[in-house]
């Protein structure tokens, strides 16, 4: 026997279930008066620096049906590539941009919309720049452990081509599952939980 490493185990994940809105977007589901607003519902103000964009996201199950009760969170750098986080040691992020947002999918159409800014480039561990991207986290009934993926931008072809995370994807046919299509100022991104077009999900 050797000494114990004396480590704890992470609490196991459990599904957010069908009523995740009660806890995380109560105003959206009609529970008013507890919180002034739903956390993460607004990401930008007049002073936020950067190009205004809209993300139009859907989450689809293995039959192609959009999830109508999912929750999507995003985490991204500011226009200069800085994260608004205590663990960001390279410099100060835009104080008018939290970098984090949360939206429920529409209860009829399954669409969720984020009004945000295009993020700047952030260095990979070895100093190379990653392509501009947004981290996504998805919770819903039927999802046992929250799903982690990334949204990249269709008009960043050169940066995408040299991105070290995209380069890690063995099956090159799957890379486009992470690239949102630009339509004017909106990026359209469908997340497929299963099937031929299954989105690349990460373990990081």
């Amino acid at each position: 026997m050797a000494q114990s490493l004396d480590r704890l185990k992470e609490s196991p994940s459990q599904t957010a279930g069908p009523y995740v809105h009660i806890g995380l977007t109560p105003n959206f589901c009609g529970i008013g008066g507890v919180y002034a607003s739903d956390l993460g519902s607004s990401m930008i103000n007049d002073q936020t620096k950067g190009e205004r964009i809209e993300l139009r996201i859907r989450v689809l199950d293995g039959t192609g049906t959009p999830l109508r009760e999912a929750l999507v969170e995003i985490w991204q750098a500011d226009a200069n590539g800085f994260y608004n986080s205590p663990a960001e040691m390279r410099g100060a992020a835009d104080p008018n941009f939290p970098g984090w947002g949360r939206q429920p999918t529409d209860t009829e159409t399954g669409v969720c919309l984020f009004q945000t800014i295009k993020p700047g480039r952030v260095p990979f561990r070895d100093g190379r720049l990653m392509a501009p991207h947004i981290t996504l986290w998805i919770a819903a009934r039927g999802i046992n452990v929250g799903l982690h993926t990334r949204l990249y931008f269709s008009d960043e072809e050169k940066a995408n081509a040299e991105d070290p995370i995209l380069a890690r994807i063995e099956h090159r046919l799957r890379v486009p599952t992470l690239i949102a299509e630009r339509q004017r100022d909106t990026y359209v991104f469908d997340i497929h939980l299963q099937g031929e077009k299954e989105t690349v999900f990460f373990d990081s």
């Binding site: 704890l8 960001e88 939290p98």
Partner: protein, 250 residues
């Protein structure tokens, strides 16, 4: 840099890898909703970049006075929610055993009859006009938190022909990095439904299930007012950066 809500120097290392055998797998067929919502291809692994090792922080200033009191935060003035009054308290720790300060906990639950306040909810148990079902708290310097609520009721749900959820409270947790993001559920010591639940049963390790069962804590009760349950939550630990080579400016 954003406010940390703590006097400690912020940590920047990558997080310990997640033990996927300890968590439920994506596909747990006894929980039918997972069948069409579980990715089937292998997850693509990589060590945390800044996009995962950083994360948003939430300050105590955003909290309202009743945010951590579900007995009163939706109730009419002078009234309170019906049910077994309980304190839920504990600490948020990381896998190294350190308390994690400044952690936002958001919770939601059914009322004492097992009914959620949600338009898609069809269970015949009645709503409690004084119970909304959501609350939140932010951990203190030692990772500690405390909430007041009512014990939620068990309820039947459409899965098998006669499946019942054990009494549970949903917890959403933000640590210091987005890679620590976690949603889980708290169960109650002694509930016989825990071991019959297809959602709980997705976890294959008995010790992992027991890590989600809050213990009755008589020393933290308020006599003649509320029982107490202790529920600790563990988030991924962070590696030390002491021996890591990092390029300038990274």
């Amino acid at each position: 840099m954003a406010e940390t809500g703590s006097n400690r120097a912020p940590e920047t290392g990558a997080f310990f890898q997640r033990d996927r055998q300890w968590h439920p797998p994506a596909l747990t067929p006894s929980y039918k909703s997972s069948v069409l919502r579980s990715p089937q291809k292998a997850l693509v692994s990589f060590d945390n970049t800044l996009s995962e090792s950083t994360g948003p922080v939430f300050g105590h200033a955003m909290l309202g006075e009743l945010d951590n009191d579900l007995i009163h935060n939706f109730a009419r003035p002078g009234e309170s929610a019906i049910g077994e009054r309980i304190i839920v308290h504990g600490r948020v720790l990381d896998e190294r055993g350190n308390g994690v300060p400044g952690v936002l906990l958001e919770l939601w639950q059914a009322n004492a009859g097992g009914r959620y306040r949600h338009k898609r909810e069809g269970y015949l148990a009645p709503l409690d006009p004084n119970f909304g079902g959501c609350g939140r708290a932010i951990t203190g310097e030692d990772g500690g938190y405390a909430l007041r609520t009512i014990r939620p009721g068990p309820y039947p749900w459409p899965n098998g022909p006669n499946d019942w959820r054990p009494a549970h409270i949903h917890f959403s947790v933000f640590g210091h990095g987005f890679a620590q993001r976690l949603i889980t559920q708290m169960y109650f010591e002694g509930d016989p439904l825990i071991w019959r639940c297809p959602i709980v049963g997705g976890i294959s390790n008995k010790a992992a299930i027991e890590a989600l069962i809050a213990a009755l804590d008589m020393q933290s009760t308020i006599p003649m007012d509320a029982l107490a349950y202790k529920f600790d939550i563990v988030l991924r630990g962070r590696r030390s950066t002491l021996f890591e080579n990092r390029p300038e400016g990274n």
